[in-house]
């Protein structure tokens, strides 16, 4: 990974006890901020990224030189308005954009961790990120916002720190990773592990990269982020730069070529071991079980205002799983709004130009901010 000087890092000195039992300390947490913190320090929003995201939410990502992953939603006058709010986003621990992860050195052996890095959880991720509040001397965030795995972090955050956010926006997520989600993640992990170059996770020491495996993992996952209708409309059976089938195994169809491209660009920016660690953290996420089968108890201590958003064509984190969160909140009389946005763009809808979604998110945040 090309870690460069554009990455801001906070060294967390306070020991963090991980769910796996191990304790880490003096570890780096890479983060980025947008907009400026006001005098009262009450305009901060902590954005949590999804599986393959990073701290570079908007603008040009200085490492990949591409648009930030949430450029549609975050920026001046956008849904999460950088003219108004101070936005903080951290790379999750286990990740590969500067935060402590499997590509870092193990201080005990002075070798790259690889799969010796401790298994981390969504809970560990948010417990690491809460240190950013102390760093910026923020007592209470105006909002915590995130989609997909970012949404899971949102739920875990408000459950762990009920007084540390006024509004809570989980998007296209779940309170408990389903068997189908675990299955897709396992497919990705097995694709990586079956690449000879993975070398049991020691590829960085061996100077080889499991690009093939990681790219297949990405291709499979990418399909789950789209909808059948969206794929059909965009690609159908269109052929790739040819007039007829070639009777071979080249990418005859545009969809094949598209997926191969998605796989190939992904390996340039993502670490295979990080992919294993982060998907594992998602699979282990079960807030319902953490509260002995009663999700409502996860939110009992908070007075925050919730707004849950799902998408009609998202089959990875379907509306019902999002609604389960709403039901748990209503059961304890919490302040919760909910809307299912109509979109053909599948799970990825929250990352894309979906005007109804962007407008609704903006309305909720701006209205809540003016009434705070």
């Amino acid at each position: 990974m090309n870690i460069n000087e554009n990455i801001k890092t906070l060294i967390i000195k306070k020991p963090l006890k991980l769910d796996c039992g191990k304790t880490i300390n003096n570890f780096p947490l890479a983060y980025e901020t947008y907009g400026s913190l006001n005098k009262n320090k009450d305009n901060a929003i902590l954005v949590f990224h999804a599986l393959t995201g990073d701290q570079f939410v908007t603008g040009i990502n200085p490492v990949t030189k591409k648009d930030g992953w949430w450029s549609y939603a975050v920026g001046p006058n956008k849904s999460i308005d950088t003219n108004k709010y101070f936005i903080i986003c951290a790379n999750v621990i286990g990740g590969c954009m500067g935060s402590y992860g499997p590509s870092h050195n193990n201080p005990d052996t002075n070798k790259i961790y690889g799969t010796d890095f401790p298994v981390i959880t969504i809970n560990d991720m948010v417990n690491a990120q809460v240190n950013l509040l102390d760093h910026f001397e923020i007592k209470k965030l105006f909002s915590v916002v995130g989609g997909s795995m970012g949404g899971m972090q949102v739920l875990q955050f408000i459950s762990n720190y009920p007084d540390k956010a006024s509004t809570v926006v989980p998007i296209a997520c779940t309170s408990s990773h389903s068997a189908q989600n675990i299955a897709f993640n396992e497919l990705g992990r097995q694709a990586i592990a079956s690449d000879h170059n993975w070398s049991d996770g020691k590829y960085l020491s061996n100077n080889t990269l499991p690009d093939k495996g990681l790219s297949v993992a990405r291709m499979a996952a990418h399909i789950t982020y789209l909808s059948k209708k969206g794929l059909q409309e965009k690609f159908g059976r269109k052929l790739q730069e040819r007039d007829a089938l070639k009777f071979g195994f080249d990418a005859d169809f545009q969809i094949e070529s598209y997926l191969r491209y998605q796989g190939s660009v992904f390996v340039d920016r993502f670490d295979a071991n990080s992919y294993l660690y982060i998907t594992r953290a998602m699979d282990y996420f079960d807030l319902v079980k953490q509260f002995d089968g009663n999700l409502s108890n996860a939110f009992k201590k908070t007075k925050a205002k919730f707004f849950v958003i799902s998408f009609t064509s998202d089959w990875l984190y379907p509306t019902q799983e999002n609604k389960d969160i709403v039901i748990a909140l209503n059961a304890i009389g919490a302040d919760v709004g909910f809307v299912e946005i109509k979109s053909d763009k599948g799970h990825d809808s929250f990352l894309l130009d979906v005007p109804d979604f962007l407008k609704t998110l903006k309305n909720f945040l701006d209205k809540s901010y003016s009434e705070r």
Binding site: N330, A331, G333, D335, V336, F338, V339, E340, N363, K367
Partner: protein
């Protein structure tokens, strides 16, 4: 604001918790918040209207009253409001029971099918009545369980709930309904407004 909403706002006490079932664009909720300092929540089936409510800063969930009232605990609201939609439900009995489980009181308004224009329409034309408050044809109306003010009063005895207050709306005039004037109110009121309890 519609007279109907003004009456509802008057019926509701200050600083209470109110659930507006089928809250439309949130006009009533806004007025309740402003005039009665009420903690208002809404359920609305239309995505567009939910988004309108969100833009007004209202707490609304997208959902269907027949399915989504279940998630609220007993007595979680002081009032539950159901405006002109009882007739659209598959099972009005279950809906009323749910309203009175979730709320200590419920306010239900019904378009009166006993209104003379409706009766005349059917009598003379011999077709399903189409009026200002009932603008749809029989085949595309959401109203599958129309009733009259008299029917509703009868229903209270059949499924056993108390009508605490009953008001008739006629040409923007509000009047009380009682046993002695029920015949006339059922003939002349466009809308019945009922405050009910278990």
């Amino acid at each position: 604001m519609k007279t109907e909403y003004k009456i509802i706002v008057d019926l509701i006490e200050e600083k209470t918790r109110v659930l507006d079932v089928g809250c439309d664009d949130g006009t009533l909720m806004e007025s309740l918040k402003k005039n009665k300092n009420v903690d208002a929540r809404g359920i609305e089936i239309s995505k567009d209207k939910v988004q309108t409510c969100v833009s007004k800063g209202l707490t609304v969930i997208e959902g269907n009253a027949e399915l989504d009232l279940k998630q609220f605990p007993n007595d979680s609201f002081d009032y539950v409001v159901l405006g002109q939609t009882l007739q659209a439900f598959v099972n009005p009995e279950i809906v009323i029971k749910e309203l009175l489980r979730v709320g200590k009181k419920a306010i239900i308004t019904i378009p009166n099918f006993g209104h003379w224009k409706v009766r005349l329409n059917l009598l003379i034309k011999g077709t399903m009545p189409i009026t200002e408050s009932l603008p749809n044809d029989w085949y595309n109306t959401p109203n599958i369980h129309m009733c009259t003010i008299k029917d509703f009063v009868k229903f209270s005895k059949i499924i056993n709930f108390k009508i605490f207050k009953s008001l008739a709306l006629t040409n923007k005039n509000i009047s009380n309904i009682n046993n002695s004037n029920l015949f006339y109110k059922n003939l002349f009121a466009e809308l019945g407004i009922f405050l009910i309890e278990k």
